[in-house]
Symmetry: C2
Subunit: 224 residues, 2 copies
DNA sequence: GTCTATAAGTTGATAGAC
DNA sequence: GTCTATCAACTTATAGAC
């Protein structure tokens, strides 16, 4: 009843915020889609499965996003934002040790809290980034290279060991994301699920591993 | 003509090594399948595509492997062997620095020479290891834990910094495989293809990064 | 052993009633 | 805006001629 009235009102003069329903529906669909795409990949997820997960009929998904590919792109766009976020900790006048520690923990938190996002992103990269290649070669490339120059500055100033900055990023991303992307392998080897305790241990490992590799942990601290 | 004669001979009394044709055909199919599965994933690869890549009709693939899933399992089995190979460098009486260096370069060589194998493996892990989960929780788990105890021994003997051995493996695998699995991201950031020169640079980075993190590089060597 | 032809089912997408 | 019913295309797998 309420829905009917609203529809009538909107077609005449929308007194409720326009697109409110659309926004809510799209969020529902995107949230469900992230889960399904993470588990099955783009090709392995069917529109029926995506619709079932969202609790809506298939055609409603087509109504909002047009094609399966467009829905996938929308999921990826959401994720890319998260991705390029924490890197801002790396600033010329920041303390290298503190900046790297913050960035690592940002990445580890993301991995722990949004593992499905990580997996959707990994799947896209694994298959050659057909949907987001342009963004990677554009925005992302320039952002990362700008941050690499900051690290180069730290090295020239003798504030950390000489580590190739771009490869430092590659290693950092790989070490953190592996706990989401390859969780199956890690739980198999550990023999336990990746709960909060295991993820905390993983975070400590990555932090001290990277800091030591960058010459940012004193001898005395090595035994921690 | 030769093929016809061979067929007649075999049906009577096979004087040629039996299964020779089978072996050759299976190799052809497996090699092509690794490439196709790497690019498209399991769900994204169709039998027609796999057949086209192998230069054979679809039904021949079914004749040799039965189902698409069985073919995929066969590809994975080939890869798992490669995977568990180089870890034998880690022996109690080996020099930690030399052993780790050898293992890293083994992994990097594999990544450079068989990127498609790495990608098929990554795709399987990414989707929860439905086909090889048993092997991971069995053979692989016990092998890796055995090697972790070797590293624990090195640490107790003060021969390297105290690094969690299992997490050391996770980091090592992630840092090396990222150059195959997420090549799209890496080439986007580098702005160049991953040729032999770039892979050599990557190998040097991973080696010094890990050795420094394990306290196996002297101060004087840091500037290399 | 090899391949053409086809069966049986699933897919992404849409038309059209409500 | 929503959903049922349906389409054409494509999927894996197999039967059966050669």
């Amino acid at each position: 009843m309420a829905a009917r009235r609203r529809a009538v009102v909107r077609s005449a003069a929308p007194d409720v915020k326009p697109g409110r329903i659309r926004q809510a529906q799209e969020s529902t669909i995107l949230e469900a889609a992230e889960k399904v795409f993470a588990r099955a990949g783009f090709a392995g997820a069917s529109m029926s499965e995506l619709a079932l997960a969202a609790g809506l009929p298939k055609s409603t998904l087509h109504y909002y996003f047009g094609t399966k590919e467009a829905l996938h792109r929308a999921v990826l766009a959401n994720i890319l934002e998260l991705w390029l976020e924490g890197i801002e900790a790396i600033q010329p006048d920041a303390e290298p040790r503190e900046a790297l520690t913050r960035y690592i923990h940002h990445k580890m938190r993301l991995t722990a809290e949004r593992p499905d996002a990580s997996r959707v992103f990994a799947n896209e990269l694994l298959h050659g980034a057909p949907q987001i290649g342009d963004i990677l070669r554009g925005e992302m490339r320039s952002l990362v290279r700008r941050k690499a120059r900051v690290i180069e500055g730290w090295i020239r100033a003798g504030r950390m060991a000489p580590v190739d900055p771009l490869h430092l990023f590659f290693s950092l991303w790989a070490m953190t994301q592996t706990y989401a992307d390859f969780e199956a392998q890690i739980t198999a080897v550990l023999g336990t699920q990746l709960g909060p305790r295991a993820m905390h241990r993983a975070g400590s490992h990555v932090e001290s591993f990277v800091l030591r590799a960058c010459g940012l942990l004193e001898q005395a601290e090595r035994g921690q």
